[in-house]
């Protein structure tokens, strides 16, 4: 009996829930983990979206309506990402979703967001090799991060390379791209060392000692690190303790930003590098006011900003502009309105949304300072256009993405066979 009543409660709750969806606000879904392993990175982005929503509402909302953020917790659980995505779109009827971190979470929600014709903004750097009709990628693709970083080091005379990464798709792909890029630049196979470690690897003694030995062959050596969040702290600690300083063997990282540094004692890391599209230390008015607004919103004047936050910022601004331009939040109208849209980025330039759903952004290289900030030591002359498909892998070199060109109108157009493959919608 008890069970039957429980069931009826459940059914009623669900029906009531789904019918409560119609109201006069524009709903912004936030799909970031607030618990589990990814909460470390993702809670910041949730707060960023909440801040953007608040600011937009203060400025009068959109299309005369107020914005309403709908926050759910996918709890770092990948199938739960898909479930929550469906909940946001089907049950809460959100008009746009900001969310996901790491490719697996994005891959998990991809079929759902495509099926329901939702609109997702993915704000984290990733390995590329994707361009979905329903996703805008505001983080960096490999040609906006990895390749410029290697170019910079090569100019500095580095001849020997350690590609160290956590064993998942982003490092694997990035390192594949870098390996073929380095070989193209005449680097010998023997001068490349590739190493993969599991997530949250904590004992780096052997690997750092190997790197030390690899680097003592008389050629200038650098480490290109795609080591994921949690494993970085013990890695850098071990580097410092074994006496590998940035002058001897610099480490350039693609996943270490201000946020990660705020959890590390930076003194031994000074001089190591990171490549991003944004650093908090960038000097521009937009950046100053963004930092000020962020610190006020979060109530902590030591709170840092980072690249995925800028990506969220750009994504949100662009979406808001596209909605005003289109006069509706309807996905099919907003999407074309996004192409070619320009929004000032936080580093003093302009971000442009391309028809492959990736941004044009500048690439910056920063050196870690002892205060946990980066000193920008190099930047590209202008904005670099994000590649959905890399030119350095044979299978991917022939694929292009263009959602505006009526002759292509797909995310993975094979220029040889003139066909689109793998499109669900």
């Amino acid at each position: 009996m008890k069970k039957l009543s429980l069931w009826s409660v459940l059914c009623v709750a669900m029906i009531a829930w789904s019918s409560s969806a119609f109201s006069d606000t524009i709903k912004v879904g936030v799909l970031h983990s607030l618990s589990g392993t990814m909460a470390i990175s993702e809670t910041t982005l949730k707060d960023t979206v909440l801040m953007m929503v608040e600011e937009q509402n203060k400025a009068g909302g959109l299309l005369g309506k107020q914005l309403e953020a709908v926050v759910v917790d996918p709890a770092s659980d990948w199938p739960l990402f898909a479930e929550k995505m469906r909940e946001l779109v089907e049950v809460h009827k959100v008009d746009v979703i900001f969310g996901c971190w790491t490719s697996v979470s994005r891959k998990s929600v991809l079929p759902v967001v495509e099926e329901l014709n939702g609109l997702l903004f993915y704000p984290v750097q990733y390995e590329g090799e994707e361009s979905s009709k329903n996703v805008f990628y505001t983080g960096a693709s490999p040609n906006q991060q990895a390749i410029p970083a290697v170019d910079y080091l090569m100019d500095g005379g580095v001849e020997r390379w350690v590609l160290a990464g956590t064993d998942y798709v982003y490092p694997r792909t990035t390192n594949k791209i870098l390996e073929s890029y380095l070989k193209l630049k005449g680097v010998d196979e023997k001068d490349i060392m590739i190493n993969y470690t599991p997530f949250s690897h904590s004992d780096w003694q052997t690997i750092v000692s190997d790197i030390k030995q690899f680097g003592s062959a008389g050629k200038k050596t650098a480490v290109v690190s795609t080591i994921n969040g949690d494993a970085n702290v013990p890695f850098y600690k071990e580097l410092g303790n074994q006496g590998l300083s940035a002058e001897d063997i610099p480490v350039v990282a693609f996943s270490v930003g201000e946020e990660e540094l705020s959890g590390i004692d930076t003194a031994p890391l000074v001089g190591h590098l990171a490549a991003w599209n944004y650093f908090q230390s960038a000097e521009s008015e937009e950046n100053d006011s963004f930092i000020e607004a962020w610190q006020a919103f979060i109530g902590n004047e030591d709170r840092v900003t980072n690249d995925p936050m800028e990506a969220t910022y750009i994504g949100f601004k662009m979406w808001a502009e596209a909605v005003s331009k289109a006069g509706t939040t309807e996905v099919d109208k907003v999407r074309p309105a996004m192409y070619g849209l320009e929004v000032p980025n936080l580093t003093g330039g302009t971000a442009v949304m391309n028809t492959n759903h990736h941004l044009s952004k500048p690439v910056l290289i920063g050196e870690i300072q002892d205060d946990g900030q980066f000193e920008i030591v190099w930047s590209t002359d202008g904005e670099v256009k994000g590649d959905a498909w890399t030119d350095y892998l044979p299978e991917s070199a022939v694929i292009v993405s263009d959602w505006a060109d009526p002759a292509i109108n797909c995310g993975n157009f094979n220029t040889e066979t003139k066909k689109c493959s793998g499109q669900n919608y």
Binding site: G218, K237, Q242, S245, V377
Partner: protein, 531 residues
């Protein structure tokens, strides 16, 4: 100012005064700074060394208003400043009024080499020695003759040896056959990587040059020297590997020994053990937050604090939850798992979902250089010692004290112990508190190795169970043995098959091992063990 300096460099003949040089550090261009650094070094001004080392430390600023270059000592928002070129104190100012003179890696290398050359006469033989080592990379005849002179006045035999090595490296380039041969032979005792690089380079050059009998001898000698060096390096590599293994083992020991009490002695499958580690690590963070100026002592203060704090949390958990579950060991697993979720989220809510920075005190950073091929990091060394001390202390407590006697009595026969007037409730609570407290101090040690964040405990919980089960439940020697075996096995498998596969193999090994000895390595045998 900076434009005139750029012109000056272009012309290359203008001599700038020392204050002018220092003032031109305000330039934004790293290439210009490099030239200035070289000039400062060559100026032989008494302030040169100070300026260069402060620049390396990131302590050189300039005032935004009048561009005076200063050495600043910044605490929070205020800064006490000293005029860089004169050394005259300029009093206090605020951080906002200063701008840092930034450097990059290239400049750091230039600074290191300049500082090294200025430090050849330093009072400290260690600094003199490392100054010479710094020069290995770019030896030339000019440098060699400077070092020759130095050799004449040097008294310290370690420094003399290093000087000789440096000169020999240069001598490898000599055109005189005998000099070359002598240098090759003398270098065969050196373990410096630079020496190997130089010898390898020499071998390569020789093999491409005309094959006279002289070159053949040289090639042979070089190869012999290299072989000799390599074999010694190989031995040290093995020693290093054992050290890595022991150090990993001692980390495992630390994280497992608390569990050996709560799980091994009391039979509570404590899934919240990892969170006790986490709380210990956060205690270190809080202590450092409270005493920002005493980082050196923070660890020492944290150890007892963490012990008491996590111990109290442990007692709380025991009194609040676990005491209802004695005799239902598998259910303690479920309840403590719930507790671990709550503790994790509590830390996320109360402190932050982000990782927190815990600084490493000076005395725990860096490494003990035994020779150029073998250096042992201090933090690992201390942790090994610390782990063994904790284990020894615990054994003393359990085997020699009255409390230990009561603990053993209660775990062996609860009702009998009760009948004899032992307050079993409090013994249980304090035993659990002890196990938790020890997990807390292990957390303090972990804060020096890894992330301090809400997920810290999760990363270690399985490893700690493996150690305890592998070693044999209820036996601290087993825990020691288990931790060390797993640590060393991991480190010996890792170079050949990578970290992940090594870990998988070790896990499979444990699973198979438990088939052989279902109660771990150091298990009790006989009838009583079966019940």
């Amino acid at each position: 100012m900076s434009t005139s300096f750029a012109d000056a460099i272009d012309e290359g003949n203008t001599v700038l005064s020392f204050p002018e040089l220092v003032a031109s550090l305000t330039t934004k261009k790293f290439d210009e700074k490099a030239v200035i650094i070289k000039k400062i070094q060559e100026s032989e001004h008494p302030q040169s060394l100070i300026i260069l080392s402060k620049l390396l430390d990131g302590k050189i600023y300039y005032k935004k208003d009048d561009k005076t270059v200063v050495i600043a000592d910044i605490t929070k928002k205020t800064a006490s400043i000293i005029n860089a070129s004169t050394g005259e104190p300029l009093g206090q100012t605020t951080k906002k009024k200063l701008k840092k003179v930034g450097i990059n890696n290239k400049l750091r290398r230039a600074l290191n080499s300049s500082i090294a050359q200025l430090s050849l006469n330093n009072e400290d033989p260690k600094i003199r020695k490392s100054a010479v080592v710094e020069m290995f990379k770019n030896m030339d005849d000019e440098m060699s003759s400077i070092l020759q002179k130095q050799l004449g006045v040097e008294k310290n035999k370690h420094v003399i040896k290093t000087l000789e090595t440096a000169i020999s490296i240069n001598q490898l380039k000599s055109s005189v056959h005998d000099d070359k041969l002598q240098a090759i032979e003398s270098l065969s005792n050196s373990l410096y990587p630079e020496v190997r690089v130089a010898l390898n380079q020499l071998e390569k050059n020789l093999s491409t040059s005309p094959q006279t009998s002289q070159t053949l001898t040289l090639i042979e000698t070089t190869q012999n020297s290299l072989k000799k060096i390599e074999s010694r390096v190989g031995i040290y590599k093995q020693i290093e590997n054992i050290f890595f293994g022991i150090s990993l083992g001692s980390v495992l020991l630390l994280i497992a020994v608390g569990l050996a009490i709560t799980f091994g002695v009391m039979g509570v499958i404590n899934m919240a053990h990892g969170e006790m580690l986490m709380l210990g690590a956060y205690t270190t963070y809080i202590i450092q937050l409270l005493l920002p100026n005493h980082i050196e002592y923070s660890i020492l203060i944290s150890i007892p604090t963490a012990f008491i704090f996590t111990g109290l949390v442990g007692i709380g958990i025991e009194r609040g939850v676990i005491r209802f579950l004695y005799g239902r060991p598998l259910e303690t697993l479920l309840a403590t798992f719930g507790i671990s979720l709550i503790l994790q989220q509590a830390v996320r809510t109360l402190i932050s979902p982000q990782n927190r920075a815990v600084s490493t005190p000076e005395w725990m950073s860096g490494s003990l250089d035994i020779n150029p091929a073998l250096s042992l990091t201090y933090n690992r060394l201390y942790i090994i010692i610390f782990a063994l001390l904790v284990l020894a202390g615990l054994m003393l407590l359990l085997n020699k004290s009255k409390f230990g006697l009561q603990v053993r009595a209660v775990t062996q026969n609860r009702s009998m112990a009760k009948a004899m007037g032992i307050k079993t409730d409090w013994v249980d609570a304090f035993t659990f508190g002890l196990g938790s407290g020890i997990a807390g101090i292990a957390g303090v040690a972990l804060s020096q190795l890894t992330n301090v964040g809400p997920n810290l405990g999760q990363a270690y919980i399985i490893d700690s169970f493996m150690v305890v089960v592998f070693g044999g439940v209820g036996n601290l020697w087993g825990t020691l043995f288990g931790a060390m075996t797993l640590g060393i096995a991991n480190k010996f498998l890792e170079p050949s098959m990578g970290a992940v596969l090594a870990k998988i193999i070790v896990l499979v090994f444990i699973i198979l091992f438990i088939q052989k000895r279902p109660r771990g390595m150091f298990a009790l045998k006989g009838r009583s063990a079966d019940n």
